[in-house]
Symmetry: none
Subunit: 198 residues, 4 copies
């Protein structure tokens, strides 16, 4: 049904651009409307309010983000490769849509408590994808069996998130995807020399 609603996507796409360029607070609804080529009031036929544009946009984009990630991961045969793919997909997708990256890394954080909880629930399926990789790795004896999954997931997500945020803060000037291998190595093997690990 939503596919038959071109204005819905016009508005979302305009919003990503406008939010990225002006920040959430600097993006007046009228500015988004103008960018989308619709009247101000039309926005409210598709979205409850300004915040709803942000969160709905995030849901749509995150849905695609996860779908594509899962699709690629499913073609890999072990947890190690899956983690590598996850990192690669994470960096690649955000590299390819820098406006989206700006919005997810910066604008989306500028929100109140309620919105933040909504964001977390949208993010949840992605975190589950990470959890599943970890469980698979443990089952297959690839990963340590004493891993506390939530903690590891927080390390993985926190690491990726911080790296992307730094990249965005540096105006996306360097090639984010160049880091994929090293990040994977770090997460897999830690920073210690093998012979020193107790």
């Amino acid at each position: 049904m939503k596919n038959n609603r071109p204005k819905y996507y016009q508005i979302i796409d305009a919003a990503v651009k406008v939010f990225a360029e002006n920040g959430f607070h600097g993006s007046q609804v009228s500015k988004i409307a103008k960018a989308a080529g619709v009247a101000d009031g039309t926005i409210y036929l598709y979205f409850k309010n300004k915040e709803d544009i942000l969160i709905t946009m995030f849901k749509e984009k995150m849905g695609q983000f996860i779908d594509r990630t899962v699709h690629q991961i499913n073609q890999k045969k072990n947890a190690n490769e899956k983690l590598l793919t996850l990192i690669e997909m994470h960096f690649t997708q955000l590299s390819e849509d820098r406006n989206l990256a700006i919005v997810t890394q910066l604008e989306l954080r500028q929100s109140n408590y309620e919105l933040r909880y909504e964001i977390n629930s949208v993010l949840k399926p992605y975190l589950t994808v990470i959890d599943n990789i970890l469980m698979e790795g443990i089952n297959d004896k690839l990963f340590r069996d004493n891993l506390k999954i939530p903690l590891v997931r927080q390390m993985i997500f926190g690491t990726l998130d911080e790296i992307v945020t730094n990249w965005v803060m540096k105006d996306c000037k360097y090639d984010l995807t160049a880091e994929v291998e090293q990040v994977h190595q770090l997460l897999i093997g830690g920073i210690c020399r093998i012979d020193k690990i107790v």
Copy 2:
């Protein structure tokens, strides 16, 4: 000099509390003034504007945060122990001042570009502390010699930050410091079984 300005600290302390309880946007200057027991206008004798309260507060608190961390780290004899101490200090200090934790993890992010750059510059010395530990570890052959320090620093900081944010979002309900050891193990040794590391 600042010690002779008790209202300066009154306002900062009131601001931490008010920001933590109401969020940045929900914290009207008049609310902070009332909590600090001064007139609205007095705020502007000590701070340039509302954002300046936030950033100055962060500078003050982060200064102490770093000083204490460095002091503890300096008493450790190798990079490995220093990293453990850093994690411990990070979690302990935020555990002990939950209002500050709320402000640093949530409210501080709700800011515009310029503020964010200022925040980064305040954060810089802390990131340097991490870098120094890493360099020491590499020099002492404790850590791998092919580590890309900025990346590792981002992993470490991103991990700690994400863990603390999760804890704050869960209303600080559990004991954050209980995780110190495991986080250290993860960062040091990664998630892979040693015998599987290529």
Copy 3:
């Protein structure tokens, strides 16, 4: 002709209900349309604008109101009985259609100058009915011959109107028609003891 336009009456009847339940300002055109089972745009095939619904509805209802009143009055043989009948009809008809009562006593007043003048012109025939009763009463030497008719009409209408408004404001909880006799006595004989009238 209008009888061939069922939607016209559908809309009017829906409007009475919606106005009564939500007030004029709380009754969006789309709400009336939905209640009438027609599309928003259809409203504008039958009515000039939202106010026109209100005034047209009032015209229709007031027309019936007056017709029924006149019909009953014509069966009475003197001004005194006619006045009693007018009071009775006034209270009875509004008692029997409480939504209409709410609209006439409350919502209809929430209007701008122009609408108010239109309302007055709709009301005029009713006021003429009162005037006619008064003139008949004076001619037949039933009523004083020094009555200033407009003033008396204002007393009569003002009294009835105020009583009905009070009843509506008290949620139509008591039996309005029970007051008919006493109101008639008051208007006819005033409040003074007969022996005290100079």
Copy 4:
């Protein structure tokens, strides 16, 4: 205290004028502010919102209205004269402040349910004044002893209100106070010839 708040009265006086000239809905807060010679925001230092201006204004004016009326009434020695004085004061005071008359007779009615209940509570003391006159008249055997006071009060108030509204609707073109005597006669003695009263 309020006497030390000149802006409070500046705003109220400006509001009466602006409401009378433009109607409640046509009176933007900025228009009232400009008329009062203050900034828009200043309005909100003294009033909760736009409706609060209307109701507060009505409270202030009605308070004076009642005080003056009661003061005059207290100098009269019987219920009959007191009623005459009440009518006289009612017409005189509204004649002398036509803007106030417009606001009370027209604009104040354009309000939602909640406001209407507030208005009624402001009006209550005035209705009590009428009730007291009626009770005194009954006790002194001047008025009939079978009067149902609420009903009579509604007749009296409804009559006065309707007469004033008609006068306002006719642009206050004629002398309202000229009607005082006749209105009093009507309310006291009714419309019937004495010899016809059963």
